[in-house]
């Protein structure tokens, strides 16, 4: 297959000192950007675009791509250490990763995240080489109705996060959906629930809300018990135990698959694969109640999915010239500034460039692993600082993060408000994850729904007449039915109380 031949020469050029340096720089910068709050891969990449004016095309793209998936890992670090997701996709990692840190297992959490990311990334890159074009074309067949069906399916999976009270989880989901609807109505352009504040026109903003619900609220809870230590038990080992390895294996495999397939579909976003991988693991587990208390699979699955997604989402860009997300759009901008059009013709015109970039994905994943694994110990030890400094530091972190998103104080305010809300909800035992998932999915769902209806001129049948969306909706219905049955069964086992 000529692909392999190209790949070989791609490696040769990817491993030149210059390109290696770019990949390294990208990974370092990316991890830093992921760790630093609020910046996120999008803003970070954009800031670095001027740099690429001076570099040659190949080097620039290698570096930007490295920044992108480096940032995915960077976001994990803060999720695990201080329960603040460095960027959106790391939210799910907070659920179990932070709990693991509380138990002194931060090293293991970060370690498995690094390894899972590596596996996911390499696999996705390999798949890119082998099956990209036909798969990419399949991904194009996802139109607005299919998107809606997919998101709806994702939301139904929230029943898997239900914990012990389905009603509470559903309530939180509804709340999240409503909050997601704040902002300018995507179809009519009329502001909804905005009280005339222009900053709300784009909605609450996922990052400030999550930073508040997870980060600030957590600090408030910690602060309450003055002698509570942030890390409750001694730091026990920096490496996952043999048993943890065993449990993570399946999680990594499944996470890779989910991340990869969803990465192919332009527009899905990084958060959905992580949620789906997490929920899938929980459902398949023999001990689902461990999730949320520090189950290592709960870190392995989303982290792997995360990185598999990041690498796979390059596929629509390279093969079809379609950016999957705003961040990739920036990457595409880098191509364009350098006079290149990503897409099938780029493969034909400049195979040297394309294959070098692809080869550098492999290289980059290796670099990321090598870079981050030794640092795991360092990060984990950071938690040994007296808790007051960690708290103050986290709050500082959050303020900077919330402000630097758009440069307005408003986001900081939102974060504080949701910090209070999160604190209260946590005290009462409400599950936050369904609300967060709904908050992310809400806007997309509504947009897809209404765009679909525009396409069909108001006919709801469009969702069932198209094969893919019908299939997805059928799955969703199945999941709901299964959940309802399970719950009924549980209730009757508990002795007919309801």
């Amino acid at each position: 297959m000529e692909g392999l031949q190209y790949l070989a020469s791609g490696f040769a050029s990817a491993l030149t000192p210059a390109n290696l340096a770019f990949a390294l720089a990208g990974c370092v910068l990316g991890t830093l950007i992921g760790v630093l709050p609020g910046l996120g891969p999008a803003a970070g990449t954009a800031i670095l675009i001027p740099l690429t004016f001076t570099l040659d095309a190949t080097g620039a793209i290698i570096m930007l791509a490295a920044i992108y998936y480096g940032a995915m890992y960077g976001g994990t670090i803060t999720s695990v250490l201080i329960n603040v997701p460095g960027e959106a996709a790391s939210v799910v990692t907070c659920l179990d990763g932070y709990q693991m840190a509380r138990q002194g297992r931060a090293g293991a959490a970060l370690g498995i995240a690094a390894i899972g990311s590596f596996v996911g990334g390499v696999f996705a890159a390999a798949a890119l080489v082998m099956v990209a074009p036909p798969l990419a074309r399949f991904a194009l067949s996802f139109g607005p109705p299919e998107f809606f069906a997919l998101m709806f399916l994702g939301l139904c999976l929230v029943t898997g996060l239900a914990g012990q009270s389905l009603a509470a989880a559903l309530l939180m989901t509804v709340l999240g959906l409503l909050l997601a609807l704040i902002g300018i109505d995507p179809v009519r352009g009329a502001p909804r629930f905005t009280f005339g504040i222009p900053e709300l026109y784009d909605g609450l903003g996922f990052v400030p809300v999550v930073m508040g619900l997870f980060g600030v609220a957590e600090i408030l809870l910690v602060v309450e018990a003055p002698f509570r230590r942030l890390v409750e038990t001694k730091l026990s080992g920096l490496w996952p135990s043999a048993e943890e390895w065993k449990r993570s294996g399946g999680a990594i495999g499944r996470g890779t698959a989910i991340g990869f397939f969803l990465g192919l579909i332009p527009g899905v976003g990084a958060v959905i694969p992580t949620f789906m991988a997490y929920i899938l693991e929980k459902r398949l587990s023999k001990h689902p109640e461990r999730f949320g208390t520090g189950a290592i699979e709960g870190v392995a699955a989303p982290e792997t999915a995360n990185n598999a997604y990041a690498n796979a989402s390059m596929i629509p860009l390279l093969v079809l010239g379609v950016p999957s997300s705003p961040t990739i759009a920036i990457l595409m901008g880098a191509f364009i500034i350098n006079g290149l059009t990503p897409g099938p013709f780029l493969f034909k015109e400049r195979p040297d460039l394309v294959w070098t970039v692809i080869a550098s994905f492999f290289v980059g994943n290796v670099i990321l692993l090598v870079l981050n694994l030794p640092l795991v110990g360092l990060w984990a030890r950071l938690l040994r600082l007296p808790y007051q400094y960690l708290c103050a530091g986290t709050l500082l972190f959050c303020i900077v993060g919330a402000y630097s998103l758009k440069g307005t104080l408003f986001d900081v305010g939102v974060m504080l408000v949701f910090g209070i809300i999160g604190y209260l909800l946590r005290k009462l035992g409400f599950p936050l994850a369904p609300a967060v998932l709904a908050l992310i999915l809400g806007p997309f769902m509504e947009k897809s729904l209404r765009t679909s209806l525009e396409m069909s001129a108001g006919d709801f049948g469009i969702f069932v007449t198209r094969p893919i969306s019908a299939a997805l909706l059928a799955c969703a219905a199945l999941i709901l039915a299964v959940s309802a049955l399970r719950l009924a069964a549980l209730k009757s086992i508990r002795g007919g109380g309801s």
């Binding site: 999008a42 800031i47 996802f142 500034i337 006079g339 059009t341």
Partner: protein, 319 residues
């Protein structure tokens, strides 16, 4: 006495202008980093700051299709240290749409200099059955409201362009489907979910060159230098269907004239600079520099035009 006062005012103004700028100038872009407005802004800022003598810092204040950034600019102190990009007709429709409750009116901004003019374009997939504009319009007439047409946003220039097209070709009615920006439009049309797209040249000309996409018409009075084979609306017999997205720099109302002039000079110089021309060409952004009064006139005329179509868009039965 009057002469003395006049001289005093004039020289003070001159002195002020010569003193300006004494600290960095903020150039606001009402869209997130990485978009084409942002890229063009950064290119011109990097060059203009040399002449201006102070650095020009690009500030991204994205949100609500530009409304957040423009709201802030309208409230900024008019001392020349806060200037920003205005995108037309996006700005116009934000002002004109009563639902948006814009906190500013058309007079809130003084246009200084326009940079980019990205003409509208109608394109279809490369293997689409529509080979010419006539094919598309015939289909739209034969099956009114069945042929789907994508736009990059409600009340965007694309949206208004569709209405202009329908006005110029009576009987042709499209089923308008709005997306959020260029990328979803690309996916939707390439995936075969939508039949055609009303878009801008800058976003698609490269793919037109490669043949992946086919352009049916360019909504300008002259052919695009990037894709010279595509006929214009004028040539095809629809001279009224002229639409484009322009991006230029404006200042808040009340900024002193000498300051405005100073900014105008530096920016114009930067835009004429060969480095600027080269970078903009590489980025695929067509320049149409309009300065001062010419730009202000364009601004007002566009506002009137947009008013008509905005009204129509709101009352059109979407069926």
């Amino acid at each position: 006495m009057k002469n003395v006062l006049f001289l005093l005012a004039f020289s003070t103004g001159l002195a002020f202008a010569q003193a300006f700028p004494t600290k960095p100038v903020q150039l606001m872009v009402a869209y997130p980093a990485g978009g084409s407005t942002d890229i063009a802004a950064r290119i011109v800022a990097a060059i203009a700051e040399k002449d201006l003598g102070q650095s020009i810092v690009v500030l991204n204040k994205g949100g609500a299709g530009g409304q957040v950034g423009w709201t802030e600019m309208s409230r900024a102190k008019p001392d020349g240290y806060y200037i920003g990009f205005i995108n037309l007709p996006a700005l116009n429709t934000v002002i004109l749409d009563p639902d948006r409750k814009a906190a500013f009116s058309v007079d809130a901004f003084v246009p200084v200099i326009n940079q980019v003019l990205d003409p509208g374009i109608i394109w279809v997939k490369g293997d689409s059955p529509y080979k010419t504009l006539k094919d598309l319009l015939d289909a739209a007439k034969k099956n009114p409201s069945k042929i789907s047409a994508a736009t990059t946003g409600i009340l965007s220039d694309d949206h208004l362009a569709i209405l202009m097209m329908e006005e110029a070709a009576p009987g042709a009615l499209f089923r308008i489907v709005h997306f959020d920006g260029g990328a979803p439009v690309m996916t939707a049309v390439m995936g075969g979910h939508i039949e055609c797209a009303f878009d801008n040249v800058g976003s698609v000309f490269r793919r037109i060159r490669t043949g992946e996409l086919r352009a049916l018409a360019v909504m300008d009075t002259q052919r695009s230098p990037f894709i010279p084979d595509v006929p214009t609306m004028k040539e095809l017999g629809y001279p009224t269907v002229i639409s484009s997205s322009t991006r230029g720099i404006a200042v808040p109302k009340g900024t002193p004239q000498p300051v405005v002039k100073r900014l105008e000079l530096s920016l114009k110089k930067a835009m004429d600079d060969p480095e600027h021309l080269k970078k903009m060409e590489e980025a695929g952004l067509q320049l149409r520099i309009m300065v001062g009064e010419e730009y202000a006139k364009y601004y007002r005329e566009l506002h009137t035009k947009a008013a008509k179509y905005t009204e129509w868009a709101r009352s059109r039965p979407h069926k």
